[in-house]
């Protein structure tokens, strides 16, 4: 087996880029920073491919399964014997897959941004942040230690915050970045406590050790964590659920999804990278990383399943009503991640039962390509019309042919039309769901149809429908740097499905056989096609039908349009409960009660001082009288106390 130590360079190169650009970019590397960032990432990307090749093909399976390799591990912070944060690199199928996904999508975004962000004032800063993000994300997927995940988890959070707030002078961007950070931070609290629970009972923070201990039913750790319980749930369930809360926050699962649509305030390429392809699937990745442990606890898996499926449905419904194209895409992302989640939830560990796991990872893989393609396409469109609103678009297929074709491919992929990438992965998910839980299957099927509908609503509204009023001079589809990524990603969206994914990425690393039978395929595919046709009827040309349908749904439509008022609930909780009912009383109490008490001590002293001033009357006879009083007092003291 060859050494994998070069993998260390994959995250370190972007880190170096971040440091260089962050320190010197603004002053010295203003124009060349884009190029530096891209080149460094290209190297990372190539190294990733090399790693993938080596792992899957050169080294291959040992004993029939792909082995988990710890290429590098260094104790970073020792808490107590056995419990430490380690920095290291794990290589296993999902890590390698994520390496490839992250570096290639990030590379595409880097290239795209060369054109898209050209002339920006903080161009170098932008690339620095992109590099920081890429580094953090790579570090996350390679983690050996659950605390290492948490650290990089926070780092991707902050890079996301920085990038969403890139247009810092726009109040809406600032608000969105704040929201994203705070909501995910809240979720991370759950993650942290989950880690504390698992670490306490497992006696280790090392992922492999934890998995090994918690999957051995006889181990003392397993026994103690399953017997200890709090509020009727075993500590294992608690731990996993709390970890999942962290994942749900980052992956925008209901009810922690509110930040994702707002996060679209960031530059569009950023949305493509962070809020479509990579960071938002970190939650899925986290569950997959700990999947052996999750599979030991049915309750935790159920929570994953139902959260996932509900989020998928909810997001799809909302997506049908939104008019901001990036928001539509954001809800679509949320919906697709919901798919991945419940797919994990219905899966079991090992062999055929692990189909859901494989499907989830497969969907993650394909989704990364077509969703980033959709975002980059949307970016091109926005670059042209300078608006996010559907009503400002239409008939753009003539102005931007490449974008049009690429976007169409992506739409077909996400709609699950064969032979595009999404078809394969979605098909596996549905099959897995069908085997395990019919209710989930039903909802998933309906969601799939909705997906096709809203994606093509989007497609038709942008590229067909009425002609947009694109005035005067425009730069068409922009430079080649903006077109090239679209083309490459389009090719991936077509071809990614044909990779023999079940062979490579499975729950136990062993590879499974999948069966595609026409019968089970027919239902979702035909539903999708029907939905596409309905979308075509409603949106291909400008007409009154959408409005009529909206009126027909009435209150439900309005509720969906308002995103089911989840934001308002949050606002209510923060603005009406936490601030006035907790924050202000505390601030008040501090000023008037705690501090007031200290002041009162001072004032009291002054009061007493004023009260006894009469003693010093200035009349010498009274002084003598006090003198005499003192003698009597002392006598009494001795008479009554001493004797």
């Amino acid at each position: 087996m060859q050494s994998y130590s070069y993998i260390l360079w994959i995250p370190l190169l972007p880190l170096a880029t971040f440091v260089v650009l962050g320190l010197f970019g603004r002053k010295y590397l203003k124009t060349s920073s884009g190029l530096i960032g891209t080149l460094s990432l290209l190297t990372s990307c190539l190294l990733s491919f090399k790693a993938a090749k080596q792992y899957f093909f050169v080294d291959g399976k040992v004993d029939g399964i792909y082995q988990k390799i710890e290429a590098f591990k260094h104790v970073w912070l020792q808490f107590s014997p056995g419990v430490s944060i380690d920095m290291g690199i794990t290589i296993d199928p999902i890590a390698v897959m994520m390496l490839v996904v992250i570096t290639s999508v990030s590379l595409m975004v880097h290239v795209f941004s060369l054109g898209y962000m050209k002339g920006e004032d903080r161009f170098a800063t932008y690339y620095a942040f992109l590099s920081l993000f890429t580094f953090s994300m790579l570090g996350l997927v390679l983690s050996v230690n659950i605390f290492q995940i948490y650290m990089f988890w926070e780092l991707v959070g902050v890079s996301s915050f920085l990038l969403i707030g890139y247009y810092f002078y726009k109040p809406s961007a600032v608000a969105a970045s704040k929201k994203a950070f705070i909501v995910t931070r809240f979720a991370d609290l759950g993650f942290l406590i989950g880690i504390l629970v698992l670490g306490f009972y497992g006696g280790s923070l090392d992922i492999s050790t934890l998995i090994q201990k918690f999957t051995t039913v006889q181990s003392p750790e397993y026994i103690s964590i399953t017997t200890a319980s709090f509020l009727g749930m075993s500590m294992l369930t608690w731990g996993l659920t709390l970890v999942f809360v962290g994942g749900a926050g980052k992956s925008a699962m209901f009810p922690l999804h509110v930040w994702l649509p707002d996060a679209m305030e960031g530059p569009t390429p950023v949305s493509a990278l962070i809020h479509a392809a990579t960071m938002v699937v970190a939650g899925v990745y986290l569950v997959a990383r700990l999947f052996p442990v999750f599979s030991m606890d049915a309750h935790a898996l159920d929570i994953v399943t139902y959260t996932g499926v509900f989020s998928a449905l909810l997001a799809a419904v909302i997506a049908c009503t939104q008019t901001d194209i990036k928001r539509v895409l954001a809800y679509s992302t949320m919906s697709q991640i919901g798919y991945m989640m419940f797919s994990l939830g219905v899966s079991r560990y090992g062999g055929e039962a692990g189909l859901g796991y494989m499907a989830s990872m497969f969907h993650l893989f394909t989704h990364a390509f077509f969703k980033s393609l959709l975002f980059l396409g949307a970016g091109s469109v926005i670059h042209l019309v300078h608006s996010n609103e559907m009503k400002d678009m239409g008939g753009l297929r003539k102005l931007m042919p490449i974008t049009h074709i690429a976007f169409l491919i992506a739409c077909l992929a996400i709609a699950g039309v064969p032979p595009f990438a999404g078809f394969f992965s979605k098909e596996e998910i549905l099959t897995a769901a069908l085997h395990e839980n019919t209710l989930v299957y039903g909802v998933a099927l309906f969601t799939a149809a909705l997906t096709s509908f809203y994606m093509f609503r989007l497609y038709f509204s942008i590229f067909w429908n009425k002609e947009a009023d694109v005035h005067g001079e425009h730069h068409g589809e922009g430079t080649w740097t903006m077109k090239l990524p679209l083309i490459i990603l389009a090719i991936c969206s077509v071809g990614a499905g044909f990779i023999g994914f079940p062979e490579f990425v499975t729950s136990d690393g062993a590879g499974i056989e999948t069966h595609m039978d026409i019968a089970s395929m027919a239902v979702p595919v035909s539903l999708s096609i029907v939905a596409i046709i309905i979308a075509a009827i409603m949106y291909k040309n400008a007409n009154e039908k959408p409005a009529k349908v909206a009126t027909a749904f009435g209150g439900f439509y309005r509720a969906a349009y308002k995103k089911f008022y989840v934001d308002e609930v949050y606002l209510f909780i923060t603005k009406k409960i936490i601030f006035p009912l907790i924050g202000q009383p505390i601030a008040w109490a501090d000023k008037h009660m705690v501090d007031g008490f200290m002041l009162m001590l001072g004032n009291l002293t002054a009061k007493i001082s004023a009260a006894i001033k009469g003693m010093q009357s200035g009349k010498v006879q009274y002084y003598a009288l006090y003198f005499f009083g003192g003698i009597i007092a002392l006598s009494l003291l001795l008479i009554y106390i001493w004797k």
Partner: protein
């Protein structure tokens, strides 16, 4: 001839002491106050002499002490009267309540 018992003398001296004290507390005229103090000192003198005579006649400690008290009382009175005279110059009064500017 029956000797006067010590207790009687002590009662007289104590009475004198408290009479002096009462005078000091109640008289407004500074000279009178000074006189009251002299009463107190004299009661002490009586004490000393009586104790010496009745209880410890072998030494003359008490008697000498009272001699010194008398002397010093005279000196004290001299200084006090000088001060009171000076006070009268500025205050035009020897009422003790008029000299109570400094207080609190």
């Amino acid at each position: 001839m029956n000797e006067v018992p010590l207790e009687h003398i002590l009662i007289v001296s104590t009475a004198l002491f408290f009479i002096g004290m009462y005078g000091l507390f109640t008289r407004r005229n500074m000279i009178t106050m000074l006189m009251s103090v002299e009463l107190m000192l004299n009661s002490v003198n009586i004490n000393f002499v009586a104790f010496n005579k009745y209880l410890y006649p072998e030494h003359l400690d008490g008697i000498f002490f009272s001699l010194f008290i008398i002397t010093i009382a005279a000196a004290e009175a001299a200084v006090a009267i000088a001060i009171i005279i000076n006070l009268y110059r500025s205050h035009r009064s020897i009422d003790v309540d008029d000299a109570a500017e400094m207080k609190f």
